[in-house]
Subunit: 423 residues, 2 copies
C-alpha cells in the first residue's frame, strides 16, 4: 500500500494552524496554505556527525535501539469526528514527517524558513541546526483505536486488552490510556520535544495529546555496549534487561509472530507504559542495608546479595548466617525474576522524571516505565508478582498506565506505519 | 569566618530523614545517625574526564561559566522556626556539599554506600558513577531572608526590592518568590537533579522547596565559544547577550561593587527569574514574515531585519521599500535593545521547558528566563520596555517571578556562602 510521500492537505493545515487557516480558506489563510503547498520544493536542513538510526525496517526503531538518554512520550486521543480515512491519512503524514526528522530534517521540505513569508512555517524551528541526535520515533495503537466506527473492531489484536487492575494501583485518568502513542527518544531533549510537538501539530483536528511525559535519564540499557544507569532510588536498574544482542531472547520475548493470532502484528510488539511515582523522601530515610534487602542487590556495584558482580545470576537459595535467604523473598529482584514469574521477560526502556514539586516541597519524581513484550501478559505476570508482595511497594505509587499494540516497521519508502492493519 | 568542613549535625539529620530519626534520637534512629557521623571517613567517588568548574573564587560559578545544557532550579522558603544560627549552619552545610558535588563527589564522605548499613545513606546515589558534568551550583538570597527575626533587616541590599508589577503579568504564587534559591546547571540533567535533591534533603527542617523548575535546553550563550541556541519559538535567542569574554561589559553590568551601597555584596550580583509560558499553538499559526517582524530578526540565520549576519548590530533607522523601518518599532529586538532601554544590558542564562500538557492537549511549554545584573533595575528597564509594547506579548505569559541577591563567591576552603552577610 503506497501513499504519496508528502504531507496531506490536512497535515499541512495542521502545521499552518487549522483553527486559523481553516476558517478562512477563501481568503488570506487559504492563500497562505496554498503557498505552503506550492513551496514543498525547498531544501531540508540535513546534518551529520551525530548518531542516526534508520526509520525503515522490519521492526520499528526505538525498541532494540540502544536506549537514548532522553525521552518525550505522548499519548493521543482521536477526535470524535475522525474517520477511518482520516486515521490512515494521519498515519501517512506521521510516517512522512517522522522519517524526515529521524534524518535530522524538518517535518517538510519547506520546513521552518523555506516556505512563503505569507504562510506559517511548516516546522517550528527549534531543532534547526541540531543533528539527528539518535532520534527514534515509535508509534503504538491503544485499545480504543479498534472501534466499530473506524471499521477496526475486527482487527483488534486478541492480545491487546486493557491491563487488569493491580493491587496498590492509584491510577489518574490524566496519566492513563490513549488511542495512539508516540515515543520519541534522542540524545538531545530538544530534538525529542521538537518531534512530539510537530507530530502533534500535524495531527490537529484528527488527534490531540491526552498526556505526555518528559524523561531526563534512561534507566535501562538495551544493549550490552551500554553501562547500566541508576534510577532515583540510587540503584542500578535494568541489569537483567533483555539486550539487543541476545537475539534468541529478543525473538522469543519481544517480536510478535503471525502464529500469535494476529497476522498484521507480525514483527510488531506490545508496549506497556507505567508512570511510577517514587516517594523519595521516605526512601531516603531507609537504612542502607534495608534498601539493599528491598532491592535484593548491593547499592554500589549492583551485585545480587547472594554474591558476585553486577551480572552474576542471583542465587535465591543461598542462606545468610542465620539461615534466612540472603536475597529476601519479598525483594524486588526476586519477585521480578523469570524463575518466579513463569519465565516472563521484558525489554525495558524506562526513564527518570522530575516534574516540579508538591505543596510540601517534595519533588514529584519517579520512573516512567516502558516495556516492550510479545504479549502484554508477560508484563502482567511480572507486575502481579510485584504488586502483591514487593517490599518496594511502600515507596512507589503507580499513577499512570497504558498499553499499546506497536505495529511492525515501515519496510521502505512509499509505505506507512500501520499499513498491514488496513490491508 | 571559618566553619568546620563537614556537615552539621542538623545537616546529617536532614540526610538521614529528620522526620524519622529526629524523633528517636535516644533509640535506633539516634544510633543510626551517630554511626553516620562516625562513618565520615570513607572515600568519595571522585571522577574525571568531564568538564568541571572550580567552586571557589571571587564570584560564584554558574554566572559567567559557559552555559551548560541542563538546569534544575529551586526556590526555598525558610521554616518559621529557623533562626539566624540555623541559617548560617544551613549555608555552611550547603557550601560543604555543593563544593563536593561540583567535583563529582557525593554530598559527604560516606556518601551513598560508604556509611553504616544501619544508617540511611547520606547521598541518594543516582549520580554515582557519573562525572562532574560541568556542574555549577549558585546560591541566592530573596527579599524575605532579610527579616527582623533573623537580625538581617539592616543588612538588606538597597537594590533588592520585590520587582514591580509589569503590564500583562499573570503571576502564580506557586511560581513566584522564595527566601533562597539554588541554581544547578550541568551537562547531564541527572547530575543537576541530584544536586537540588540532596541540598533539599540537607535543608530539612530549616528550609523547604517552594517551587522548582527543570530546563532541558539552554537558550542563551554566555561565552563567545558557544553557538547561539534556539528557543521554542524557533528563533536564535540571546545573540546580543553579554559574554564572559567581554570583561568590560561584565564588570560594568554584572558584578556588584562596594560603591553600589552594600559592601557585603561586592563581587556578587542580582538574579531575576521569570517563568514565561509560551502560547506555542498560537505562535505556530503566525506567518513566517510576521514572526520575523515580531522578533526583528530573520528566523534562519538570526540576522537583524536591517541586514547583515547574526552578529551585525541592528540598524533601527533603515527603512523598508515603503519607508517604514525594516525592524518594526514594536519588535522584540528593538524594545530590548540597550539604545531603547537607557543602556541597560543583562547577562542571560535561560532554559527551554516543557512540563506536560493541559487538558486541551497543548504543551505547557516556554522559557525559564534567568538574568544576572549588577542592579535589578537593569531588568526592570528592559521588561518595562517589553511589557508595554512588545509585539511578542500576544504569545507569552509571565507566570512566575523572583529576584535574589547573589552573594560573592566563597574565596577558599573554610569559608561559606554568605559569610560577608554575617560579618
Amino acid at each position: 500500500m503506497t501513499e504519496p510521500q508528502r504531507l496531506s492537505r490536512r497535515g499541512l493545515l495542521g502545521l499552518a494552524g487549522a483553527g486559523a487557516a481553516g476558517l478562512a480558506l477563501g481568503g488570506a489563510g487559504g492563500a497562505a496554505v496554498a503557498t505552503a503547498i506550492a513551496a514543498q520544493t525547498g531544501s531540508g536542513s540535513g546534518s551529520s556527525g551525530s548518531p542516526s538510526y534508520p526509520f525503515h525496517g522490519e521492526h520499528q526503531a526505538g525498541i532494540v535501539t540502544p536506549a537514548q538518554d532522553r525521552l518525550h512520550f505522548a499519548a493521543f486521543d482521536l477526535a470524535a469526528s475522525t474517520t477511518r480515512d482520516d486515521l490512515r491519512e494521519l498515519l501517512s503524514d506521521w510516517t512522512y514527517a517522522a522519517e524526515r526528522m529521524t534524518r535530522g530534517l524538518e517535518v517538510s521540505e519547506s520546513g521552518a524558513v523555506g516556505g512563503s513569508p505569507l504562510a506559517p512555517p511548516d516546522d517550528t524551528g527549534e531543532a534547526l541546526d541540531l543533528p539527528p541526535s539518535g532520534l527514534t520515533i515509535t508509534f503504538g495503537f491503544g485499545p480504543g483505536l479498534f472501534a466499530e466506527r473506524l471499521g477496526l473492531a475486527e482487527r483488534r489484536p486478541a492480545l491487546l486488552e486493557p491491563l487488569p487492575r493491580f493491587s496498590g494501583d492509584a491510577l489518574a485518568p490524566g496519566w492513563t490510556g490513549g488511542d495512539l502513542c508516540v515515543q520519541a527518544c534522542a540524545d538531545d531533549p530538544q530534538v525529542a520535544v521538537h518531534a512530539i510537538r510537530n507530530l502533534s501539530r500535524i495531527a490537529f483536528g484528527r488527534a490531540a495529546i491526552r498526556w505526555s511525559q518528559l524523561g531526563f535519564g534512561r534507566t535501562s540499557s538495551t544493549s550490552t555496549s551500554q553501562i547500566t544507569p541508576r534510577n532515583l532510588f540510587g540503584f542500578k536498574d535494568g541489569t537483567a534487561n533483555i539486550k539487543a544482542e541476545e537475539s534468541d531472547a529478543v525473538a522469543e520475548y519481544v517480536w510478535a509472530r503471525e502464529s500469535d493470532g494476529t497476522a498484521w502484528m507480525a514483527g510488531g510488539t506490545y508496549l506497556v507504559a507505567r508512570r511510577i511515582r517514587m516517594i523519595i523522601e521516605s526512601w531516603d530515610r531507609v537504612q542502607l542495608g534495608e534498601q539493599e534487602r528491598i532491592i535484593g542487590r548491593d547499592k554500589g556495584a549492583g551485585a545480587p546479595l547472594s554474591g558476585g558482580t553486577e551480572f552474576t545470576e542471583p542465587d535465591f537459595s543461598r542462606p545468610d548466617d542465620d539461615g534466612s535467604p540472603r536475597i529476601p523473598d519479598d525483594s524486588h529482584v526476586r519477585l521480578a525474576h523469570p524463575s518466579v514469574v513463569g519465565g516472563a521477560r521484558l525489554l525495558r526502556r524506562g526513564y527518570n522524571y522530575v516534574d516540579g514539586n508538591d505543596a510540601l516541597g517534595r519533588l514529584d519524581a519517579g520512573l516512567f516505565f516502558l516495556s516492550f513484550q510479545r504479549d502484554p501478559e508477560q508484563f502482567v505476570a511480572v507486575q502481579r508478582s510485584l504488586a502483591g508482595h514487593d517490599a518496594l511497594n511502600e515507596y512507589i505509587r503507580h499513577v499512570g498506565s497504558a498499553v499499546f499494540a506497536v505495529p511492525p516497521g515501515v519496510p521502505a519508502e512509499g509505505a506507512s506505519i500501520g499499513d498491514p492493519l488496513f490491508a
